[in-house]
């Protein structure tokens, strides 16, 4: 039987090659975690084109001097699809003003994972709560946020019949421990317009 003898140079080359392969595989797995969700929702297609004109919508804010909810106008772009407009509206609310006279009732760290619209008119908003400090997010703020989000969608888009909120992709009982989600009729009825601020 013939015995194969590797020289030390060959051994080093093989070892370096193996290390490179392992590093390459590791890097691929450790890459941007959002990449794996691309197909799920973080679509690479832009929400609007540069030449799309802007349109005004109303988002719910709180007047800091009184603590009362107030609608204020903001702009999104006139996109080709209503879905894109809705997603822009949700983002406009989440990224709304956190300084000044009118501020959005959105806690620091809250982010949009994904947004869907079902053929039945249910807007599904999947929110990330991992970066939100729960000790500064009580029932009042939770309720103002949920009501504000529902209004942003239902008052600006007639197609939205119901709003469903998911927390980190899950059908959670609450957003942050207080305001009860999940009773589907709750979102539906609220979307029908029970929430009225002073400017309504």
């Amino acid at each position: 039987m013939r015995k194969i003898n590797f020289s030390w140079k060959t051994t080093i080359v093989i070892a370096v090659f193996l290390v490179l392969v392992i590093l390459g595989l590791w890097k691929r797995n450790q890459g941007n975690p959002l990449k794996s969700e691309t197909g799920h929702g973080l679509s690479s297609t832009p929400l609007f084109e540069p030449h799309d004109r802007s349109v005004s919508i109303l988002i719910k804010t709180v007047e800091m001097s009184t603590g009362k909810p107030v609608n204020v106008p903001t702009s999104i772009r006139q996109s080709k699809s209503r879905y894109n407009q809705m997603k822009q509206a949700v983002l406009a609310f989440l990224d709304g003003p956190r300084k000044g006279k009118f501020q959005v009732p959105v806690p620091e760290g809250m982010a949009l994972n994904e947004f869907y619209l079902t053929p039945e008119g249910t807007a599904v908003v999947d929110l990330s709560m991992t970066a939100v400090n729960r000790t500064t997010f009580g029932f009042v703020e939770e309720a103002l946020f949920v009501k504000g989000l529902i209004e942003v969608l239902s008052k600006n888009f007639f197609e939205v019949k119901m709003v469903k909120i998911l927390v980190d992709g899950q059908d959670a009982p609450t957003l942050a421990g207080h305001y009860a989600l999940g009773t589907s009729d709750s979102a539906a009825s609220t979307a029908l317009g029970a929430y009225g601020g002073p400017t309504d």
Binding site: K68, F139, Y179, L181, T183, Y195
Partner: protein, 252 residues
């Protein structure tokens, strides 16, 4: 004739003994039983504002309420007597099997504008059973229309005794607003609350104070302020239960 009287009293005593030990004391003779729950506890601190911690305030207020209710002739079931965490299932089972007339959940709050002050009430809206998409009542709990109306009456009675508006807030869920006055100043919020959705007796969340309000903190830092709140809550509860309302003597 004397021996005959004795012979009649023996069956009467026997009948009374049977009544007491088999049927139980009639409810009217017993003290009205209520449940108080100081929300959060243990590792769950609730909200914070500076050095103020919700779970500590909830327990402090609830203990004063317990004393005041007991001195007014109530039997009080305390869900939490110390700094401990209870699962939702544990404490809701305790409330629902307590045979109590009502439950009050104490939740101190915070508000980032710093403008809101207590007291504030939350009442669970009624569940729409006719809604075809509402298939998971067992999972999310159910509040009947009768239970909702009883809880709303309780909140209104206590609000009246605490000197605040007994109207529904205009932020309220549309399921509960039929026939009700709405107001931006309304202190009763009809909204789905995690601590109410599984309870089957009249129940409210009562926010005595906002930890972000210096006026509230000042008021509740004194015994008089705490006791005035407790007295109003007890008197409102007695009004709701249509009990004669002698003014509670604790702290007076």
């Amino acid at each position: 004739m004397k021996p005959k009287k004795i012979s009649l009293s023996i069956p009467a005593l026997l009948a009374l003994w049977i009544l007491v030990f088999t049927v139980g004391l009639p409810r009217v003779w017993a003290k009205p039983r209520i449940v108080l729950y100081a929300a959060h506890g243990g590792s769950d601190s609730g909200v914070k504002a500076g050095s103020e911690v919700e779970k500590e305030w909830n327990l402090k207020v609830t203990k004063i309420l317990q004393q005041t209710f007991e001195s007014a002739g109530f039997e009080v079931v305390m869900v939490r007597k110390k700094d401990e965490a209870l699962s939702t299932e544990t404490w809701t089972n305790l409330v629902n099997t307590s045979d109590a007339l009502l439950a009050i959940v104490i939740h101190s709050e915070r508000d980032w504008t710093g403008r809101m002050t207590g007291p504030l009430f939350v009442v669970e809206p009624p569940t729409r059973t006719d809604n075809p998409v509402n298939q998971d009542i067992q999972r999310w709990g159910m509040t009947s229309l009768a239970q909702y109306h009883a809880s709303l009456r309780l909140a209104k009675a206590i609000a009246s005794k605490l000197g605040v508006s007994g109207e529904l807030s205009n932020l309220s869920d549309s399921r509960g607003i039929t026939g009700e006055m709405l107001s931006p100043e309304g202190r009763i919020w009809c909204m789905p609350h995690q601590d109410l959705r599984f309870l089957i007796i009249p129940s409210i969340v009562l926010t005595p104070l906002f930890l972000t309000s210096s006026a509230d903190l000042k008021k509740f830092s004194t015994n008089d302020g705490l006791q005035a709140f407790a007295n109003g809550t007890v008197q409102g509860t007695m009004d709701f239960l249509q009990m004669p309302t002698p003014v509670p003597t604790v702290g007076r």
